[in-house]
């Protein structure tokens, strides 16, 4: 990728350098592998965000942005403890529209160095990175997003942290807008350690494409549509993750398919459900909704609380908590009101951080939040390749036959050989 642009942000002195990666970096590194190379170059304290060469292109499900950080990047003691359980470098997948909007903002990789003096927000657009003042009443994640929509420069997507990360809770999760994410490996903690409250992605620019890409995309999407039934959607993913019996918790909810950027085979659903105020049982019912993006998180809550899992998931996302961890901290029994109180207490860092049940985890290298569709080396290799390409790893695991078609969308200067080496590097990190 000859036109690769990289921003290096020194949070401590609030300076930004926008540079083109030098030959050494560019030669062998692409996607998440370049994130690793940047962490190696700028030090283990750095936090790196980067898409792959396919992020935001016409390749199906090209939605991936990867947040990478090394063990110890989360400087707060609690996060350091969490970090110690994992491998040396973690990659957290950020899906929905975060990846494409990151690239449309004119930056391919973002390196964050140092720590800001006070909570800070970054706004990226037009190839520039700006510091944005945090609204006075930041509050929870949805409130923060709403107030930023009013006060900050226009943005299409946002990567935000919630009150849990502010309080240094090790189970905090970064969220894309207020929709949640698959962060179970401490990206929110790494951001909080840098006093970074969020990254706003303007996404007003664009990226080039080859003349044949539109036709190729159409053909590939048609092919995938033919295999969609076999691959299954949300239900199949939940069943594959061992949550088949949790599906009855969705009874009575209105489900609508939701997909990430340019994904022809949606694997998420938005659940709309009727709820009453938990403090006023028997009160008037109103409709609430939550996006089931984090299959594992919802399964963990549903296994513990059944039908109450939906409002609890929303509450966890509101507070910026990892739903899987939140489920493990809930008492064995409780009402919705008491569970919400427990989550609030957890998000504030107390009272006791000892899980009542073991939290379900998947591969911590890849963020820990991916549904285990396939296990073993082959699945890990596909995931590593997805992290290098910038394509949703769940999509690639569900449609492994698409792997052969994706290189056609690559820029001319990215060779399949360098791609393989990069994927091998990401795989080896695990």
């Amino acid at each position: 990728m000859s036109d690769l642009r990289m921003a290096v942000v020194h949070l401590d002195n609030r300076t930004v350098e926008v540079v083109t990666p030098d030959g050494d970096l560019r030669r062998e590194s692409v996607g998440a592998a370049l994130n690793i190379a940047l962490i190696e170059r700028y030090g283990k304290e750095s936090l790196v965000f980067g898409g792959g060469p396919l992020t935001g292109t016409f390749a199906p499900a090209s939605a991936l942005l990867v947040g990478s950080f090394a063990k110890g990047a989360a400087a707060k003691p609690a996060q350091a403890a969490q970090s110690a359980q994992s491998t040396s470098i973690r990659h957290v997948p950020l899906l929905l529209t975060a990846g494409p909007d990151f690239r449309f903002s004119g930056i391919d990789h973002l390196v964050l160095l140092g720590a800001a003096e006070r909570p800070t927000l970054l706004h990226i657009d037009g190839g520039r990175v700006r510091f944005v003042e945090l609204p006075k009443q930041a509050g929870d994640v949805p409130s923060l997003e709403t107030s930023l929509r009013r006060s900050a420069p226009p943005f299409r997507s946002a990567i935000l942290t919630g009150p849990a990360a502010d309080a240094g809770v090790p189970f905090a999760a970064a969220s894309i807008g207020a929709k949640g994410s698959l962060d179970k490996a401490g990206l929110a903690g790494a951001m909080a350690a840098k006093n970074l409250k969020g990254i706003l992605l303007g996404g007003s620019g664009g990226i080039g494409f080859a003349a044949e890409d539109l036709r190729r995309s159409l053909e590939l999407v048609e092919k995938i549509k033919g295999q969609k039934k076999k691959a299954g959607g949300f239900t199949s993913l939940v069943e594959a993750a061992g949550g088949g019996d949790c599906l009855k918790a969705l009874k009575g909810a209105t489900l609508r398919d939701a997909a990430c950027f340019h994904c022809p085979a949606p694997c998420m659903v938005h659940a709309e459900f009727a709820e009453t105020n938990p403090r006023l049982p028997g009160g008037p019912k109103k409709k609430g909704g939550v996006l089931l993006l984090d299959h594992m998180g919802w399964i963990a809550l549903a296994k513990k609380r059944g039908g109450q899992s939906l409002p609890l998931l929303r509450e966890a996302l509101r507070l910026g908590l990892d739903p899987s961890a939140a489920a493990s901290f809930l008492p064995r029994e409780g009402t919705l009101a008491s569970d919400i109180d427990a989550l609030s207490a957890l998000a504030q860092g107390g009272p006791a951080l000892s899980p009542s049940t073991a939290s379900p985890t998947t591969d911590p290298t890849f963020g820990g939040g991916l549904s285990p569709i396939g296990t073993g080396e082959e699945a890990r290799r596909i995931t590593a390749l997805a992290f290098v390409l910038g394509v949703c790893p769940l999509f690639l695991q569900r449609f492994p036959q698409a792997v052969g078609d994706l290189p056609a969308f690559l820029p001319a200067d990215v060779s399949p050989a360098s791609l393989d080496r990069a994927a091998e590097r990401v795989f080896a990190q695990g």
């Binding site: 935001g56 292109t57 016409f58 529209t97 494409p100 449309f104 226009p154 299409r156 807008g177 207020a178 929709k179 303007g202 996404g203 007003s204 620019g205 664009g206 990226i207 080039g208 494409f209 539109l214 995309s217 159409l218 999407v221 549509k225 609508r256 398919d257 939701a258 997909a259 990430c260 950027f261 340019h262 994904c263 022809p264 949606p266 659903v269 938005h270 659940a271 709309e272 409709k287 609430g288 909704g289 996006l291």
Partner: protein
Amino acid sequence: MEPANDIRDNELGIDDLRPRRPQKRTLMDRFMPRRRPFILFDPDRCTGCGTCETVCATRNAGQIAPASASVRVIRDDARGRNLAVYCQHCRKPLCVDACPTRAMTKDEDGIVRIEKLFCASCGLCTAACPEAAPLRDGRTSEIRKCDLCEGDPLCVRHCPNGALVYTKGKAFRWIKGLRWTVQLLSFLLLVMVFLGTFCYFNAGSFGLSCPTGALQNIFATGRIVLAGLAGVLAIFLLTVLFSRFFCGWICPFGFVLDLVDRIVPKKFGLPAFLKTRMAKYGILGGAAAGSAAFGFQVFCTVCPIGTLCRSYGQQAMFRGAEMAIVPLLAGLELTERRSWCRYFCPVGALLAIFASLHLLKIVIGAKKCKKFSCIQCAEVCPMGIIDADKLREGLSPEIPMTECIGCLRCLDRCPYGAAKIRFRRQKGVPGEVER
């Protein structure tokens, strides 16, 4: 030196530079309006993947740049619903009127286009559009809008879930032909073949009588003629089933009004105090009271339906004074369509009372409805009961079935199949996400 006024008169104005193109209407348009191309959006199928934005931008900006697209997907995070905002190519586009430089034009093919050369990017079109469909490019600040890719929209072709459909609407309106045929046959049968049968017809023990006439008869004589009531009961049952279908399909005077409507322009307005749909109930009550007071069916003497039904034949030709009521009431068509039926007809009033028990209803505004950009159903409704303002607000209007004459013009005219017949108890609009 010339006076300043003269100089101003000689200046070129926008009308000289970009005169408005008058919309051409042919005679054929009156009977079979031209089919316009549209894109229909199905929110139930949209997953919010944004492919439409991406492919649209390639045409606008030559890049993958959703901010430069002419379509925008609005994602409602709380409710999980997505809405695609794009130009609806309205029949009467407000953006065209709002554009101060006349950069917006609605062409012969029905597509609203923007002439970049003249566009000042002022954004007044966006402000005027009910859906804010002319979108400002995030990169260049230019105004972009959908031109349907000149007949092969990329967004439709690439939408992976079929949430966008390109259509020109339906071509043939068969209900219209059927209704005119039935109305003509009814007119011929009731007025020219079975003379006076609408008012009263007796075949052995079975009698058929006009329900309003029967009601007046009861009040005038103080007796109930059971033979006549059989016919009233039949009309009652049919009205409960099919609403006021009699007014829309059978009534000979309604047929005359429909014919007159096609000829006379709407030049005048009714005084506000007359424009109340309750008036017809007052006339019905007055007819009943008058019959009781005078001992004969008072309204029947001036009833336009009865007059028509008794007008044919040698004997009837001499009833000049009575026949005068027909052109007199038909003259009301100069004000509003079917204004007699809307406000004054006591026969319709009695049928409306029956119709309050209706089993079927007409619903407008299924997910296919293009609401503010179309409003054809409201325009063709002869009874004026489809609330165009609701459609302009993007809401589905509720249709009062007591006022509906069951002509089915709304179903026939809607190019998208958004007007439907449904059972009374059926909730919501079929296919539409409940609010």
